[in-house]
Assembly symmetry: C2
Homo-oligomer: 348 residues x 2
DNA sequence: ATGGTTACCGCAAACGTTTGCGGTAGCGGC
DNA sequence: GCCGCTACCGCAAACGTTTGCGGTAACCAT
């Protein structure tokens, strides 16, 4: 044992390990880092590692981040973790990030631009190495700013037409088409569509796809059967379907742009004394957890949220390591229509 | 304009502001911090603040944390954010933390001790100022270690008998009692109970309360009607109720220790051709989001998770600022039985 | 004119890392 | 015996803050 006595109070630092090992802190740093370990004698390295373990040494992420200008953290911006859509995405992200030593900082924006701005600068103060953003609107000044500052960024569940953002989305086109085809196969001809907020990429895409698919499959698209929701929420879906019901144009099925909107449809139907699927068939989008337990179980388009989170994280890591791509790629993941009890053949 | 030219490339630092203002960085630091602003001339302070704003200066949280040994971050340990129970807690936590300048680092443990350990040290490397833990088991060596290291810590949704931990929980006793009373009022006498994992504080408490409440309300407690689930999960609930159904002892109602277990009951009932509430009434615990949309809507004990998150955060902030209490307080929040369609009067 | 007080601000150290640079020792080749 | 090379390791600076300490100038009272 050496003659030095190290106070065993606080958390040990590189210096403590160095003193115990009788070497300079730089040597300890190099020995502990696999990348630079070859620069130090094998035996000394082993001794240092052993001492570090005995002392319970843990690198100080703040100091390291300050020195290296890389914090090994990434920011995740999402509207609301309470929306069952997002937890699987978050877990997918963490599943990839954690083994690589990264930590995700999660921020809820409630889709409010000022809150988003605040969260964003807060994350920047913590010097996150990149962003995963699930709150993208079709035009997004904040994101364009980030883009210009050359900060790694990938969108998930959303996309932005121009700007070269890399994003990972679901194959909405295939999903909506499958849903429409399913309804038509059941004999439905008067199909309503509840669109999402017009400033969201998914809302626009799903709406357009609906129009196209219906037309291609030989069903006339009636503008009176298309209603816009102000939000992807249960309340908005309730309100929108209520408007349709109050209208004169009859329909036998409704395709909701989102599961929450479909949930609102359930509310509106019950309040108006209509049954599902007896009177009206309903289809959702996303296949949220527990939605198979609803009354009736909701037919929905399954979106691989977990996998979306994973690939988003992978793409972000690539950007962090290899630098920003000149032109962002958008990865599109396959979806699958899950038929349950909320859709039935139209009454004869 | 001064003669200095500052490169406008990277993010501005204190030094940049100082050069522009023609003062020392220490002065800038003091001027920008409301706590120390009185130490600098009012006009100079105003000028510095203005320049900082123009430059878009944001303090580097890493550098500040390194210097002050306070990172203004807290770690949140929970089993699985995918469990609908936790998002409201998380939002409650953030609702209190954010305005105070704190950031929450969320970590999923999947209730696996080694994963928990890993997450914990990872958060410690980031020098979080405290922990909010929702994964507490009845005996928890890791948490006792934390306790000994004098790190601020508060438990949420769980409690630990000894050790002086401060925690915020729901009034489980009142909840279970209300549930039992409700079933008895409906005429049920043969009531089964599905207990949670025995290493969780809530599981034990709810089980004991059930026994006591049933006895006090004049219903014999039959040990054959008490089944233990290995986890708070749908699958475990399914398995447990299936075992009961396969047994010889008949029952007309089942009280589940948790909503997910109740969900599993739905599965088991359907597979066995039993109807709810026609054949068996079911009550859950927690009142998870969307559970009112189930088939049938689940009668459940509502727990104020959002508020639990908020008070947990408040208690943690108090610990961070005022130091650890000598003896932890446990805050108990009121619950409320929400009667829905899964409970009905026993058949005559 | 002197001493004391106050207001303001600069100096420099420190937090715990990482890393370019250089120095020393050992060794092999000539 | 000299040169050059390699392996190993120490030195010191730097990242961007905060903060104790001290210094200067101004002001007031004596």
């Amino acid at each position: 044992m050496g003659g030095y006595s190290v106070p065993m109070s606080a958390v040990p630092t590189l210096r403590d390990v160095a003193v115990h090992a009788g070497v300079h802190v730089a040597t300890v740093s190099r020995a502990l880092n696999p990348e630079t370990r070859h620069q130090v004698n094998a035996e000394t390295a082993a001794r240092i590692i052993s001492i570090a373990r005995d002392l319970g040494y843990r690198p100080n992420a703040l100091a390291r981040g300050l020195r290296t200008a890389r914090s090994t953290t990434v920011g995740v911006l999402l509207p609301d973790i309470t929306n069952p859509l997002f937890p699987p995405i978050v877990r997918g992200i963490e599943e990839v990030l954690l083994p690589e030593g990264y930590t995700a900082l999660i921020a809820n924006t409630d889709n409010a631009p000022d809150q988003e701005e605040a969260q964003f600068t807060r994350l920047r103060q913590h010097h996150v190495d990149g962003f995963i953003v699930a709150t993208a609107r079709r035009d997004h000044p904040l994101l364009r700013r980030v883009r210009q500052e050359k900060i790694p960024l990938v969108l998930v569940n959303r996309t932005i037409e121009r700007g070269g953002f890399t994003s990972v989305v679901a194959d909405d086109t295939a999903g909506v088409t499958a849903a429409v085809r399913h309804l038509i196969d059941l004999g439905h001809r008067d199909i309503a569509f509840l669109a999402g907020p017009s400033n969201l990429s998914t809302a626009l895409l799903r709406l357009n796809t609906f129009k196209r698919a219906a037309a291609e499959l030989g069903v006339a698209v009636d503008g009176r059967l298309i209603e816009r929701c102000e939000a992807y929420s249960e309340a908005a879906g309730d309100a929108a379907l209520s408007r349709l019901i109050a209208g004169e144009r009859r329909f036998t099925a409704v395709l909701a742009s989102n599961d929450l909107i479909a949930l609102g449809c359930y509310d509106a139907l019950e309040r108006n004394g209509l049954s599902c699927p007896g009177d009206i068939s309903v289809i959702g989008f996303n296949d949220m957890p527990f939605i198979d337990k609803l009354r009736p179980p909701l037919t929905s388009v399954h979106v691989p949220h977990h996998e979306m989170g994973r690939t988003a994280a992978r793409l972000l890591l690539k950007q962090i390591r290899d630098g920003l791509p000149r032109r962002g790629e958008t990865v599109q993941l396959p979806v699958e229509l899950v038929v349950r009890g909320s859709t039935a053949a139209v009454r004869p």
